[in-house]
């Protein structure tokens, strides 16, 4: 009895953690399982039987496929823009001295500390007053905006652990600054950039709230789901969500693997051990804390 009690006490934290992990994963498992459901009505809320119908023709629901493609296009474009803009900011923050650092930091952090509904509402206010028509373009402007900060944080944490002697070596060997950047800095930075881009992509493709305010009649994947929730959700939504999950996980694993390889090759030691989405969000800690202490 006392042995069992001691075991329980010793492992209480682990058991709790296992429960928490289960709590995090159960809804995801449920989504995957329900993609094989065979609902009789229009809603996919209760289990009624096994079927692979939703998988044989995943992109068979035209409206849904259109919305999904719109989301992919939007995510690709906004990721590209946000990654470039955010990387430039991160380079300036880590490698240069300039006046107004506090203002720059504040500007980067404050969007992450603002509720999305406020961001969406304020963007809509501006678009209304300027008479800017809502649609793909306004969505693009908004998505780049909320992605930039996250890119800055991921790339910055990568840059902080960057061994600058590698660049110095290139310079010593006669490389111009541009050549050094292209052949040394960029390749070493690449895993961080890909990690940042993946995060921006995931944020964009999953955004509902800000898109809800700035989309007009354009329908993205989350907006489609929201609309469909009132009339009935096709099972294909679950298949696409599962597919998206699998692809993102695969991409994350690939990036982490690439990163390990790059680190081994160049012996660059970033200060966080995980530079994937987890590390990015974890280092968001610093950013958000500094947001909370305005100048």
């Amino acid at each position: 009895m006392s042995g069992a009690w001691r075991w329980l006490r010793h492992n209480a934290v682990n058991i709790w953690a296992a429960g928490a992990i289960a709590y995090l994963l159960i809804p995801i498992a449920l989504i995957a399982v329900f993609s094989f459901n065979d609902p009789s009505g229009k809603f996919n809320y209760t289990w009624e039987g096994f079927s692979i119908d939703a998988w044989t023709n995943v992109f068979g629901v035209e409206e849904l496929t259109d919305a999904f493609l719109t989301s992919l296009r939007l995510a690709a474009l906004s990721t590209l823009a946000a990654t470039i803009l955010g990387t430039m900011i991160a380079l300036a923050l880590v490698r240069h001295q300039f006046h107004g650092r506090r203002v720059a930091n504040f500007l980067i952090v404050i969007p992450m500390a603002t509720p999305e509904v406020v961001i969406g509402a304020s963007l809509l206010s501006m678009f209304l007053i300027y008479g800017i028509s809502l649609g793909f373009f306004s969505l693009f402007l908004a998505h780049v905006m909320f992605s930039i900060s996250f890119v800055v944080i991921v790339v910055r944490s990568r840059l902080i652990g960057f061994d600058r002697r590698l660049e110095e070596a290139a310079r010593d060997l006669g490389a111009t600054p541009l050549t050094t950047f292209r052949t040394v800095t960029l390749p070493l930075l690449m895993p961080g950039l890909i990690g940042a881009a993946l995060l921006a992509f995931a944020l964009s493709i999953d955004d509902f709230v800000i898109s809800n305010f700035t989309s007009g009649t354009t329908v993205t994947f989350p907006l489609y789901i929201f609309g469909a929730a009132q009339r009935g959700i096709p099972v294909e939504v679950y298949s696409i969500a599962t597919l998206l999950f699998a692809v993102t996980v695969a991409a994350m694993v690939f990036v982490t693997w690439q990163q390990r390889r790059a680190e081994k090759m160049a012996e660059v030691r970033p200060d966080d051990t995980d530079e994937s989405g987890a590390g990015a969000l974890a280092s968001g800690r610093d950013a958000v804390s500094s947001a909370g202490s305005p100048a």
Partner: protein, 293 residues
């Protein structure tokens, strides 16, 4: 190196790098806030058009009309943040100190919900908490819920959904602060004859405080503005301020009132954050502002 001795191009380079991105943030974050502020002081209707009239009554009307949703938002967000903290701390602790070679896989599991669509996750919860679902059955069997009791369309369901959706934001910062903690400090405490409990309370917990502060903020802020969970897991009786803002902007098109509400929401959150940071101590929270060298 002295800044003044650098060539001009090199001195301007950081501004060139910062410029486009910060301009984007200014144009599509700061300036919209200005327009929202202006809109919140206008009067009129959609038919007659809106005019700027310093209509301060929008703010007082917003508060008196929607005080219930406001208070509910902060209660739901506060409770969800507390529950998330209770769930997250031991999890982060286990990953940081007992994760071993499973560490990365466990972190992966923590962020996994982010890889499925937010709306679908929430809809999955409607299935989990549905009237004929397992959770309701179990709660009925142990007598917590009455025979005709239900979870959907209750505050409990909405809070459960919010807790779930923002839990990773709580786990990651706490994990990051625990991960940075030098285990030798805990060993030192134990060498000085402190019990595990005392070592935890006097060393581990205070050193992870920045993570707790960041985690609670990252959870509370989006939770207070959320309206998805209330839509899918609640009813109009569970509507939060986000639902009101969304409805006023997108359905009723009472823009001035909606803008006033958004502004109040943002102001209240900012105020709470500032007070909280003061209270929690800001010295540990300054972030990495001085990393340039």
């Amino acid at each position: 190196m002295n800044g003044a001795s650098k060539p001009l191009g090199r001195r301007l380079l950081p501004y060139g790098l910062l410029g486009p991105g910060l301009l984007w943030l200014t144009l599509f974050f700061v300036i919209p806030l200005y327009f929202m502020a202006r809109l919140s002081l206008e009067s009129g209707t959609l038919e007659t058009g809106f005019q700027f009239t310093w209509e301060w009554s929008n703010f007082s009307d917003a508060i008196t009309t929607y005080d219930e949703q406001f208070i509910r938002s902060f209660i739901y967000a506060g409770v969800a943040t507390l529950i998330a903290l209770v769930i997250a701390y031991p999890l982060a602790y286990a990953i940081a100190f007992r994760g071993g070679r499973w560490k990365n896989a466990l972190l992966f599991a923590v962020v996994a919900p982010f890889f499925t669509t937010y709306l679908i996750r929430t809809i999955a919860w409607t299935t989990i908490l549905s009237d004929d679902g397992v959770v309701v059955d179990v709660l009925k069997a142990v007598g917590i819920l009455g025979d005709d009791g239900r979870l959907l369309a209750t505050g409990t369901a909405v809070i459960a959904g919010i807790t779930y959706n923002f839990l990773p934001f709580m786990v990651l910062p706490i994990y990051a602060s625990l991960e940075r903690l030098d285990p030798r400090l805990i060993e030192a405490a134990k060498d000085l004859y402190s019990s595990s409990r005392t070592a935890f309370l006097k060393v581990t917990l205070p050193l992870s405080a920045p993570g707790i502060v960041a985690g609670t903020l990252l959870t509370f802020i989006p939770a207070a503005g959320d309206y998805i969970n209330a839509i899918f897991l609640g009813s109009t009786n569970q509507h939060m301020v986000g639902n009101v803002i969304q409805g006023l902007y997108l359905n009723l098109r009472d823009y001035p009132m909606a803008a006033a509400l958004s502004f109040i929401l943002m102001a209240v959150i900012m105020l709470m954050v500032v007070i909280y940071i003061r209270f929690a101590g800001s010295e540990a929270l300054m972030g990495e502002e001085e990393e340039a060298r």
